[in-house]
C-alpha cells in the first residue's frame, strides 16, 4: 500500500476512509444524517458558531487544559520525559465535554429540542446531561444495566442534571447495547431528536465531526509543548475504546512524520482469554452502528461481547478512522490488561497525586512499559482524558478494600 501525501484529508464525500467508515443505517435515518452533514458543514465555517464554541470551551469547560510535566513518574521510570495532557480537569471530568459543547450548539442551530445519547462509563452521559441542563434541552441517556451497576456515581450525576437515564438490559447490557437502544429511539423520533454520539464512531459525519471537536486536544498540546520545550512531541499515547480522545490528540500530528503514536486498547483479562475489548488487536473488519471498522465478532458475523474493567473501553468496535490509521501503519495499536491498568492507576495516584480514570490508566500502563528504554530528552505526551473519582468504588472492590 502506498503512503498517502497526507493522513489528514479523510473521509471522502461518502464518509469513507478507504474501506472503513460509510453510512450503514436504516433508510429512516438517512435524510437526517444528510441534514446533519449539511448543518455541520455550514456551522464549521460560520465565524459566529466557532466564536460561540470557543467561548463555552474557555469559560464553561475550562480550556485550555494544562500540559503537565509528570516529574516523579518520569524519575520513577528513568527514561523519556513524560507529560500529561490534563483533560481530566475539564468541567465534568473528561474530554467528553469538548464534543458535547460542539454538538449541542449544532443541535440548537438545527432547532432540535430533545437530545439522546449512549454512555458506557457515564462520562459522555454526564457531559451530555450537563450541556442539556445548560441549554435547557430535554435529555435521555441510554446506559447498559451492567454499566449502571459499576458507575453509580455518574448515574446519580446525570439524574441530578435532569437527565432521564434508561437502563438497557439487552445483549451484554453495556455500551454496544446502549448504542443499539439509542439508535432505536432515534429511528422513532427523528423529527424532534438529535442523537449526540460520544465517540468517533457511528455513521458519517459523526466520526469526522467528533474528531474535529476533539482535535482541540492535539492543537493545544502542540502550542503548550512548544512553549515548554521549544519543540513538538516524539511520542503520543492515548487509550482507545471508540477512539475520540485518541483521535483528538493524534489528528493534528498525523502529518508530523517524526511523531510516533500509540493507541492502547483494553485487553481485559488478556487477549488470549477471549474476555477483552481489543477490536484492532483481535477483531476483523465488519459493519456495526453505521460504519465499517474492526469489530469483535464470531465467524458468523455475530458481534461478541467486549470485556474491560473500564466501562468506557468496553465496546466491541472502534472508530473507522482508527481502523484506517492502523492499516496505514501510521498509529500503533497496542493493549493493556485490567491488571496492568489497575497497577498504573495506583502508581499515578501515589506518585503524582492524580487519580486517573480507569480508561487513561490503560494509556498509562503503556507509558510504564514504553518509556524506561527511551532517552531522557525524548518527549512523551499521554492524554489523561478522565479523572478517577467515578472509579474509586470499583477499584476498591478489585483491591479487596471495603469502603
Amino acid at each position: 500500500m502506498s503512503t498517502p501525501n497526507t493522513f489528514r484529508s479523510g473521509p471522502d464525500e461518502g464518509g469513507h476512509f478507504d474501506l472503513f467508515g460509510g453510512r450503514y443505517v436504516a433508510e429512516t435515518l438517512m435524510p437526517l444524517i444528510l441534514d446533519l452533514e449539511r448543518a455541520w458543514g455550514e456551522a464549521r465555517t460560520d465565524p459566529g458558531y466557532t466564536a460561540e464554541l470557543d467561548h463555552f470551551l474557555a469559560h464553561y469547560a475550562g480550556r485550555p487544559s494544562p500540559l503537565y510535566f509528570a516529574e516523579r513518574l518520569t524519575q520513577e521510570l528513568g527514561g523519556a520525559k513524560i507529560y500529561f495532557k490534563r483533560d481530566e480537569l475539564n468541567h465534568t471530568g473528561s474530554h467528553k465535554i469538548n464534543n458535547c459543547l460542539g454538538q449541542i450548539l449544532l443541535a440548537r442551530r438545527m432547532g432540535k429540542k430533545r437530545i439522546i445519547a449512549e454512555t458506557g462509563a457515564g462520562q459522555h452521559g454526564v457531559a451530555t446531561a450537563t450541556v442539556c441542563a445548560r441549554f435547557d434541552l430535554d435529555c435521555t441517556i441510554y446506559m447498559g444495566e451492567v454499566d449502571i451497576q459499576r458507575q453509580q456515581p455518574n448515574v446519580f450525576r446525570m439524574k441530578l442534571l435532569g437527565a432521564k437515564v434508561v437502563p438497557v438490559g439487552s445483549g451484554s447490557a453495556t455500551l454496544k447495547d446502549a448504542m443499539n437502544e439509542a439508535l432505536r429511539d432515534w429511528v422513532a423520533s427523528v423529527e424532534t431528536t438529535y442523537y449526540l454520539i460520544g465517540t468517533a464512531a457511528g455513521p458519517h459525519p459523526y466520526p469526522a465531526m467528533v474528531r474535529d471537536f476533539q482535535s482541540v486536544i492535539g492543537r493545544e498540546v502542540r502550542q503548550q509543548l512548544d512553549a515548554a520545550e521549544g519543540r513538538g512531541p516524539d511520542t503520543l499515547i492515548a487509550c482507545i475504546g471508540g477512539g475520540s480522545n485518541a483521535i483528538g490528540l493524534f489528528h493534528p500530528f498525523l502529518d508530523d512524520a517524526g511523531v510516533e503514536m500509540f493507541a492502547v486498547e483494553a485487553a481485559g483479562e488478556g487477549l488470549d482469554s477471549g474476555r477483552h475489548a481489543a477490536s484492532i488487536s483481535a477483531g476483523v473488519p465488519g459493519v456495526l452502528h453505521g460504519s465499517r471498522s474492526y469489530l469483535l465478532q464470531d465467524d458468523d458475523g455475530q458481534i461478541s461481547e467486549a470485556h474491560s474493567i473500564s466501562a468506557g473501553l468496553d465496546y466491541p468496535g472502534i472508530g473507522p478512522e482508527h481502523a484506517w490509521l492502523h492499516e496505514q501503519g501510521r498509529v500503533h495499536y497496542v493493549s493493556a490488561t485490567d491488571a496492568e491498568a489497575l497497577a498504573a492507576f495506583k502508581l499515578c495516584s501515589e506518585l503524582e497525586g492524580i487519580i486517573p480514570a480507569l480508561e487513561p490508566a490503560h494509556a498509562l500502563a503503556h507509558v510504564i512499559r514504553h518509556c524506561p528504554g527511551l532517552a531522557r530528552d525524548h518527549l512523551v505526551v499521554m492524554n489523561l482524558c478522565g479523572r478517577g473519582d467515578k472509579d474509586v468504588f470499583l477499584v476498591a472492590r478489585h483491591l479487596g478494600v471495603e469502603l
Binding site: 435524510p31 439508535l183 422513532a188 459493519v287 458468523d300 458481534i303
Partner: protein, 286 residues
C-alpha cells in the same frame, strides 16, 4: 433486471395477485426460531396458510431497527445454533418443496459481509432465494451489495419511509427492483401502528414515482389492520406478530410446545383471510 430465462417469481406473484384483484400477504419469520426444525415446519406450512410472499430473517446479534419481539426471535435462533449456512439450507429446503412462492432474505449487513458478499449472493441465488431486504444498506452504499445482487439475479428490495421526501425518493428508486417496501411508521418493528389515512397519502406519492408493487409493513399485527392496509397497498407485511406468537408457543423450558407450529400458522390464516377479504368488504369504505 436481467434474469435471463430464470423465473421472476416476485413479478409473477404480483401479476397473479393483480389478476385476482387482491393484495398479497407477506410473512416474516426468523430462520432457526425457535430451532431449525420447528422453523422449517412453520416455513413449509406458510404457503398453504395463505402467505403469498415469504421473508426469512437472517438472525443478527444487534438488530438496531427491530423492536423487542424480533430482537428476541433473533436471539432464540442464534441460541439454537442458527447461522448463515443453515439459513441458506432452509431456503434450499423450501425451494425444493415449493417452486413458485417468492422468498426474500431479510436482515443486516454484517453477517453477509462476514460470510463473503459474492459467496452469499451465489449461495442464496442457487438455493432459490429471489431477493434481499437489507436494513442497513441505504442507496448511498449501493456498490456494496445492491449492484452485485442485481448482477447475480437477485432483487434488492428498497425501503421507503415516512422520512423519505420527494427529492430522496428518486435516489431510493434508482436501483430498486422487485417491489418497494414502505415502512409505514418512523420507528422500529412491532411497535406503534400507522394510520391508514397517512399510509394512503404516501402510497399515492410512491405510485406516482414508480410502477413497482408496494408492500407496507411495520406495526401491522391484526387481521383488521392487515385488511385496512390491503385496501390500499399491493401487499401487507406481518412479522413481529408472528414471532410473538412463536414465543407464546414455547413451554416453560423455552422449548417449542406441541401447538406452536399450528398456532403460528393459524394466525397466518387469520391474517390471510383479512387480506383476501379486504377489497370485497372494504370496497364501500376503501
Amino acid at each position: 433486471m436481467n434474469t435471463g430465462a430464470a423465473p421472476d417469481r416476485i413479478h409473477e406473484r404480483f401479476t397473479a395477485l393483480r389478476a385476482e384483484g387482491r393484495a398479497g400477504l407477506v410473512t416474516f419469520v426468523t430462520a432457526g426460531d425457535p430451532d431449525f426444525e420447528t422453523s422449517w415446519n412453520i416455513l413449509a406450512g406458510l404457503p398453504e396458510a395463505g402467505a403469498d410472499l415469504i421473508e426469512i430473517g437472517m438472525p443478527f446479534s444487534d438488530p438496531m431497527a427491530d423492536g423487542p419481539a424480533i430482537q428476541a426471535s433473533s436471539l432464540r435462533a442464534l441460541g439454537s445454533g442458527q447461522n448463515m449456512a443453515k439459513t441458506i439450507d432452509l431456503v434450499r429446503r423450501f425451494r425444493a418443496a415449493d417452486a413458485t412462492t417468492p422468498l426474500l432474505l431479510m436482515g443486516y449487513y454484517n453477517p453477509i459481509y462476514r460470510y463473503g458478499n459474492q459467496r452469499f449472493l451465489d449461495d442464496a441465488k442457487s438455493a432459490g432465494a429471489d431477493g434481499l431486504i437489507i436494513v442497513d444498506l441505504p442507496p448511498e452504499e449501493d456498490s456494496e451489495l445492491c449492484l452485485p445482487a442485481r448482477d447475480t439475479g437477485l432483487h434488492f428490495i428498497r425501503l421507503a419511509t415516512p422520512t423519505t421526501d420527494q427529492a430522496r425518493l428518486a435516489k431510493v428508486l434508482t436501483n430498486a427492483s422487485g417491489f418497494i417496501y414502505y415502512v409505514s411508521i418512523t420507528g422500529i418493528t412491532g411497535t406503534r401502528s400507522a394510520r391508514p389515512g397517512d399510509v394512503n397519502e404516501r402510497i399515492a406519492a410512491l405510485r406516482a414515482a414508480t410502477d413497482l408493487p408496494i408492500a407496507v409493513g411495520f406495526g401491522i399485527k391484526t387481521p383488521q389492520q392487515a385488511a385496512a392496509i390491503a385496501r390500499i397497498a399491493d401487499a401487507v407485511v406481518v412479522g413481529s406478530a408472528l414471532v410473538e406468537r412463536i414465543r407464546q408457543g414455547l413451554d416453560d423450558d423455552r422449548r417449542p410446545g406441541a401447538g406452536l407450529v399450528a398456532e403460528t400458522l393459524g394466525l397466518v390464516k387469520e391474517l390471510a383471510a383479512g387480506v383476501r377479504g379486504a377489497r370485497q368488504s372494504g370496497a364501500a369504505t376503501g
